[in-house]
Symmetry: C2
Subunit: 230 residues, 2 copies
């Protein structure tokens, strides 16, 4: 049975850029579950109204509706315990810390580099919604929010020090193979790669090599996605 | 059998303030192992020369010499597998990330707040060594390195956002009970508490409540240690 995923898309329907949807895409691949990733746009609220809320990822698995990327990962491990585990109970607590670090440091940092680029890739009606909602949240224009990118990239790279240090000694956050913590962090980089030409990582950074391994994982699922070769 | 721990001390021999020695103290308590924590000072290099290196923590367990707090935690789990586990193989990889975050963000941030306070609590000969080695490393005086503390505390508190977010949803990094990841982060706060009156945490911060739980753990082992009620 194929699981349906409502997956955030840009004006081009193949441009799939949500960091949270990427967490779910890789989680589904990790568990070797077939997926039909349906394009969904910011203003397509009606299309997922059946889930009782307005954000993606949403999955439908044999009639079962689950939303929120963390809840989906939990659901997949609970529902398919015989398939590769995303995060064992022991790992889940620490993966929560990785998730909190990603939400604040990594995605918080990347947002200030790419939000104007994201806007440029949306359908016109989504652009209106995105600009209004984000500018209200940030208290400034998208362009001002993303100003001075070259100077900010150095600070962003420095903020990755904990990830860099970890990946000097082991290939994945999960150890010798990736687990859900890796997909959480990777989703943030994939968000940037699918929307922006910004060179977030230096090529000699262990984080760059780790991202490459995940771009190549699952027959290049993430690496083949529409984006920029950065 | 009692394990001997060489434990960094100030001019007062009861002032034990090394963040790495605290990681080991709590690891030993977690595994319910008896310890004789011998005071050791920065310039007592001869006393631990038998370990083949010059830093603490060093433990001696029935003739077995182990140094480096991470290696000690591994040794304790491998040698005493029937006692409460510090970090299962699945948890170890993610605990490495917590350790890297602690070393860079938490301890890096605290250092700029308390290093001058640490200096003031050392024996005179250790003060000379500490000032020279740290000022060479920082490229400035201890006092300049720690200047502007009140302004820096706000930024430090903000840097704890990933920890704060995690502890809003679960009592410990380890989940419903602490594991070695908790002791890694806690050691940094204990380093500050044993040496400085700086109020690192607001009392309504979930991180404050988490620290309180760990100060109270193991019959108040850390809470009873010589330090400041901050």
């Amino acid at each position: 049975l194929t699981i349906t995923l409502y997956d955030l898309a840009g004006a081009e329907e193949d441009r799939r850029f949500s960091p949270y949807c990427w967490r779910t895409r890789l989680a589904l691949a990790h568990k070797d579950l077939a997926v039909d990733a349906v394009p969904w746009h910011f203003t397509d609220k009606d299309a997922i109204a059946f889930s009782g809320q307005g954000r993606v990822p949403v999955i439908v698995d044999d009639g079962e509706v689950v939303f929120d990327s963390w809840t989906i990962a939990d659901y997949l491990d609970a529902t398919y315990p015989d398939r590769p585990v995303l995060a064992s109970p022991a790992e889940r607590a620490l993966a929560k810390f990785v998730s909190a670090w990603t939400d604040t440091v990594v995605q918080g940092g990347i947002a200030r580099l790419i939000m104007a680029d994201v806007w440029a890739l949306l359908r016109e009606k989504d652009q209106v919604y995105f600009r209004e909602s984000r500018e209200a949240r940030f208290g400034t224009t998208l362009e001002a929010f993303c100003a001075g990118r070259d100077e900010k990239i150095a600070a962003f790279r420095q903020s990755l020090a904990p990830l860099r240090l970890t990946l000097k000694d082991q290939p994945y956050l999960g150890g010798i193979s990736p687990n859900y913590a890796d997909y959480i962090v990777f989703g943030a980089f994939q968000w940037a790669r699918c929307t922006s030409k910004a060179q977030l990582l230096a090529e000699d950074d262990p984080v760059f090599a780790w991202r490459r391994r995940l771009l190549d994982a699952f027959d290049g699922l993430a690496g083949k996605a529409l984006g920029y070769k950065v």
